[in-house]
Symmetry: C2
Subunit: 223 residues, 2 copies
Amino acid sequence: MSVPAPARRGGQPDKRRAIAQAARLVFGREGYARAGVDVIAAEAGVSKRTIYNHYADKEQLFLSVALEGADAVTDAVRVLMERHLRKIVDLEEDLTAFCLDRAQAVTEFPEHFALVRSIHAEVTRLPATVLEKWRAHGPPSAHQRLAPYLQRIADRGLLVLDDAERAANRLNTLTMNDVLIRSFYGALPLPEPTVRDIVTDGVRDFLRLYAPPKAPPQSREPS
Amino acid sequence: MSVPAPARRGGQPDKRRAIAQAARLVFGREGYARAGVDVIAAEAGVSKRTIYNHYADKEQLFLSVALEGADAVTDAVRVLMERHLRKIVDLEEDLTAFCLDRAQAVTEFPEHFALVRSIHAEVTRLPATVLEKWRAHGPPSAHQRLAPYLQRIADRGLLVLDDAERAANRLNTLTMNDVLIRSFYGALPLPEPTVRDIVTDGVRDFLRLYAPPKAPPQSREPS
DNA sequence: GTCTATATATGGATAGAC
DNA sequence: GTCTATCCATATATAGAC
């Protein structure tokens, strides 16, 4: 499943992107099995044969698009981390804002999460090598990138961490997972207030688990 | 989607169950779209026409089987609650045992969770009325049944609950959800030690959130 | 590389006898 | 109600001209 290099020689590389985008749309809307290569070709404005010139078959096209989409989401989350977790002013507020934005990313990439649902449905039929790549592009990598941010926060004394990666996973569990499951992985987006409640509660409990024993708000009047 | 009453007049009601079982197997193995009514008929040992005599179409067959399967899982979980949570001897141990058994139910009903994955993939194409029924038969009902058990435990002073149903959801979030997501809803079962780690950690954190402030182990020597 | 046209297969649903 | 045989639509993939 290594992403094949776009054909350069004389061909229009735009077409390949047009195909990928159309495939993402149609696969997301119809699911893998129902999606017709015909429809994808029409949506992309190319011939069916052109698709088969760029991709070996329907399955390769699907997997290629799925992995690209996962990377796009991953990049978006990376941006959110930098925005909310680089400089902490109020830990609870910043974590909440981060998780809220992260949760809303689910509804901002609807085509991709439709692909995620299709992959879940097909997962028992996918080759092991493909699944490994899928795992590598997915949530686990997100945890690995979140952990250093939490570690930096802990180094400033705002959290007490035994294991930064485990804590990253906990934050995810307490906020994202509920949103994912209850929204059917974004298929039926939850009302914004509901998401806010879930995330707020999750962050609060996360801090109850990981906040320092008694946060002395740097009282300016020592005994 | 009301489950239609089996035809009695002269027909063999066994056939219907054979069809349902075969459908559960084939839908679980192939997914909704790939599953052929032909194959289901062969697996059930009946003719294709017989299936269409019992069920309006493929979709009705699928949904009927899915809801029945959800009820079966629900009943199994109900049994586990009675076994582990009716009489508490050691709260942490009992909760852990319950959640472990509950998590392993995912791998004990592989066909059903394969159906769950298919439903996720199809969820945007399902009628709203069907989705409501699906939700009603699924996890939310499990929370509602778990809550009273937690409430009884709290009444004995072993937990401090603000809202029993919220706590039930928390226990679920901290144990089941990770298992579900990381195993791709049971498609790639996690190693038993991994499940044990997840559940053990989850219950420990649950108790850190909901245990009474300082559990006095009824010390026999007051000041 | 791209297009039109087509081969080939499959699957949902039905007709009609028993 | 159940079976055998079949219709018809659809979909993947390919052939061959430009």
